[in-house]
Subunit: 569 residues, 2 copies
């Protein structure tokens, strides 16, 4: 931005580019709705009133709010690239996201963050970043990278970086792990927000977390939890994602006194939900339906996150701020009829305009270092009883179940009749193909194998299958795509979804991925899988920070004891 | 602060220093008042509840609020040093001020800022600073210094510096003066607040000012003015100073939607007002008396300015924030019964505790470069009619009046019978004793002379007198004190008030200065001065940014035309 040009236009010395007349402007500073005109120059709002303009557009009395801000999102969860994500959410009125590239950083480290930063250029919305604070999440898995404070430091100079992202390692904070404290100190020195992640933390431990300077939390699932955190100075991001929806539970906390310390976020939202429900706009609509004042709901989506992250050029319709605008007709059912990003029309009627072109794709580093040919999925029988992971529908937690082993030729094998299916996690980062093996129940698989390179948080390849050959075939399919989902029966690949961007994201539009995803689920269900989204459930079986029993490439992890445990009891 | 120690105490691993039990705690995040205990370690709040403590103090159900923050103050206006100012306002519950050392910077430049920064150490409150943005205020006077962006830059590294102070040169902003823009850019790069000062600015010019990134204004005198600014994203500091009191006018703007963008400040508060009314507490009391919710009034004095300035370690009673606390009994008449600063009792019953000692005085650079011996106050008669400054009681504006000259021996002289009194401003900065001469009416002086080294904004020596000899004697008295106020009749000094700190501040306690000030006013009134505070009025006769006619060491300034004009019409 050339600030002098903006100021000159504001004082009235030059014609503005665009004057939006007949607007009912949502003022997020006063909470009032004002009738008037919005003058735009070089992509920025410069003032209100009768400025001379090159182009005038009459909004016919429609409402105009600042573009919505998603305070915390993992773009990787949408399974598409930054480009396709932006093209999907901009029509919903989202003009800024604070993205935490935690997943790709676990795969590619600093190169992943760099890839995301470069991918953010030229999009129809602002993709800002919070730097992932916990890569890897634990030492009990082989991640693609390790990021210490010194690795993060250079990124704080980047204009798109506004915060340190969710500090999931809350024990590290509470017990002042030096590497964790170094990351917090780094953010503090930069006057940057330090976002938190502390589900259920309470009492003295929460006080310790707050005393460390943590400024937000998006993991609250109960009203009392949110109020306790808020009253310690931790701002509350109310999350409405695909797997975790907290608006209903936290709604009672939002009142005339607390709203300045609250905002919305989506965290993880899958393609289907974005396409059918929407994005931040969907959260606003739900909140308003539940009885929240619409202007307050808008403030929680605009100026509140802007102020939280020290973003002074967005989050409000005001001179010197980007002309990111959402036009709509109904305050009680806010649906973006037109979206402006930096003064440019980018979407109408919920659809991206054809004038919004894709920027040149950024080259993504290779993130698949695995030769599946020699993989050995066999498990010699070393006991009669197994620690089995029980998958639970629509949950990321699991249970540990003790089941008798099934034996064939001295090996422990799957027994689909008892819903006992072999599970393996194969390291795709080091080239050494470290493999952890175990069993899962609850997936419902009774034939074939399913595999995925989306396996939180290290995103090794996770595969479940009734035979070793089919497991190898599924992994081979995933490796051949440089990552993705695969479903195999016998030697045949029933369905596959390529995720060539770090094995996490597609380069196709969100609609395509949604359709491919539907095919994947159909294929998995054809193999007997009984869950609504078996690949999501599969992906979380590898996450060793969520109880009770998980599998990484290093083996079975008892999360309650935070240690590797033997498969055989 | 050793953060690890604070965190360890918060998680309960070490006894805290002090536990305040039986407290009704004003939570500025939720707006609620909670009954409970406050645990303090190493000067910081670490948590609530039953922490093991070395010392316990029962507050007997009294209220506890965070220490109050003055969002914008010129300590120089209190006429005492930082030490004496802190000792005066801490008992009122003020534990943080954002001081703009504009006056001393006009006298001593960077050395003045440095002096103030070093003086802030070891005080019973936090003196933080906004860097003066307009030194000198104009080119039509000889100031002691010129501060460009490059001069200010090093100070932004100082932990006590939190903002760029009031940008009074709003024409410079609106018309993008490069030196002004450089200062704004500097603050922006540091993610720092850029405070404003734009009385009456409106419409496109205000939009231009806002577009430059100005984040606050404390000069609003009308509700519509404040609302217009607030709705452009400029936070409103409601000022209650000695000369300018805006609470009554701005009160209607404070509502459930606007309060998050509003805060209190005192700007300029003279000794008498601090001692009789109080400080920020007085503003809170007035607002509550007018009907504002007390907790909202407290939030405007605590978390709002803290958030505005990015101060994360004060402004709330919460883990990791300084234990700056105000204890009081009555929510509708908030009077500090006890004040804690960094966990230490500093005041009780409105009095500083004797345990609070003065830090070692900081050496102040010499700020008087003037030999009064050779000063020639005579004005050769060059016409029959004079441009005379009309002083107006309790106002900083003046009028220009045309009056017939009085003549003696070919010289224009005072004529007390017509309330026509000679006025001079003598440069005390360069050693060259530049002198501007003119006449004033409205002071009422009919004998002797009064002089002052407090003459806004360059703080040269201003003197009004009926004879040249008495004017010289008054200036000589001021110079002999290294600055101050003097009242002379004949050869006798009737009264004097030494202000040895840069000719602006006393090193004596506020009560002493208040008493000395009373003597000065008595003496001036004995000389015929009719105004309630003739020295204050005198001091503003030199301020060439306030209309209509002013006198600097370079001559008479027609402020409406912003140029030097001849004395004789």
């Amino acid at each position: 931005m050339d600030r002098n040009t903006i100021i000159a236009a504001a004082r009235g010395d030059a014609a503005v580019d665009l004057l939006l007349t007949g607007a009912r402007i949502v003022n997020v500073f006063s909470g009032r709705i004002q009738s008037g005109s919005i003058a735009i120059k070089d992509g920025y709002v410069i003032g209100f009133g009768d400025y001379p303009a090159k182009e005038t557009l009459d909004l016919g009395g429609r409402y105009v709010a600042p573009g919505f801000i998603d305070a915390h999102v993992h773009i990787e969860s949408s399974m598409v690239s930054v480009t396709e994500f932006a093209r999907a959410v901009a029509p919903c009125g989202t003009t800024t996201v604070i993205a935490d590239p935690h997943e790709i950083a676990n795969v590619l480290g600093a190169a992943g963050i760099d890839y995301m930063l470069r991918s953010a250029d030229g999009q129809p919305m602002d993709c800002l970043f919070a730097l992932p604070s916990c890569v890897p999440a634990t030492a009990m898995e082989t991640a693609g990278a390790r990021l210490e404070a010194a690795d993060l430091a250079p990124f704080f100079e980047h204009p798109r970086v506004v915060a340190l992202a969710e500090m999931m390692n809350y024990p590290g904070v509470i017990f002042t792990d030096p590497a964790v404290m170094a990351k917090l100190d780094l953010a503090r020195r930069q006057h940057r927000a330090m976002d938190g992640h502390a589900p259920g933390l309470s009492g003295p431990q929460l006080c310790a977390y707050a005393a460390a300077g943590i400024t937000s939390d998006h993991e609250c699932t109960r009203a009392e939890e949110a109020l306790e955190k808020l009253e310690l100075g931790i701002r509350i991001m109310v999350r409405e994602g695909t797997c975790a929806r907290n608006l209903d539970a936290l709604f009672p906390v939002i009142d005339a006194h607390t709203w300045p310390n609250m905002m919305w976020c989506t965290d993880d939202r899958h393609p289907h939900d974005i396409l059918t429900e929407g994005h931040v706009d969907a959260v606003i609509r739900r909140a308003v339906t539940k009885g929240l004042d619409p202007v307050t709901a808008i403030r929680m989506a605009t100026i509140n996150p802007a102020a939280h992250f020290g973003i002074f050029d967005a989050g409000a319709i005001a001179p010197g701020r980007k002309a990111n605008l959402v036009v709509f007709s109904n305050l009680t059912d806010i649906r973006a009829e037109r979206v402006f990003f930096m003064g440019r029309r980018v979407a109408e009627g919920g659809r991206l305009l054809p004038t919004v072109t894709r920027p040149t794709p950024v080259r993504v580093p290779r993130a698949m270092h695995l030769d599946p040919a020699g993989l050995d999925f066999s498990i010699p029988l070393e006991g009669s009883r197994l620690r089995v992971i029980r998958a639970i529908a629509d949950q990321v937690v699991t249970r540990c179940e003790i089941m008798p082993a099934a034996e064939r030729d001295g090996m422990a094998v799957s027994d689909p009749g008892r819903d006992l299916v072999k599970l393996a996690v194969v390291d795709r980062h080091t080239g050494k193909a470290h493999m952890g093996k175990g069993f899962v129940t609850g997936l419902g698989l009774n034939r074939g194998a399913i595999a995925s390179s989306v396996a939180h948080d290290s995103h090794n390849i996770i595969v479940a299958g009734v035979s070793d050959a089919e497991m190898r075939a599924a992994v081979t399919a995933v490796v051949a795509m440089d990552g993705g989902f695969g479903a195999v029966m016998g030697e045949r690949v029933l369905a596959q979804l390529p995720l060539p961007v770090a094995g996490l994201m597609s380069d196709q539009p969100l609609e395509t991925v949604r359709d491919q995803m539907d095919c994947m689920i159909d294929a998995a269900q054809a193999l007997g899988a009984s869950l609504s989204d078996p690949f999501m459930t599969l992906g979380f079986l590898a996450l060793p920070v969520i109880p009770d029993l998980k599998l990484t490439d290093q083996g079975l992890v008892d999360v309650t004891r935070f240690e590797i445990v033997p498969l055989f009891v």
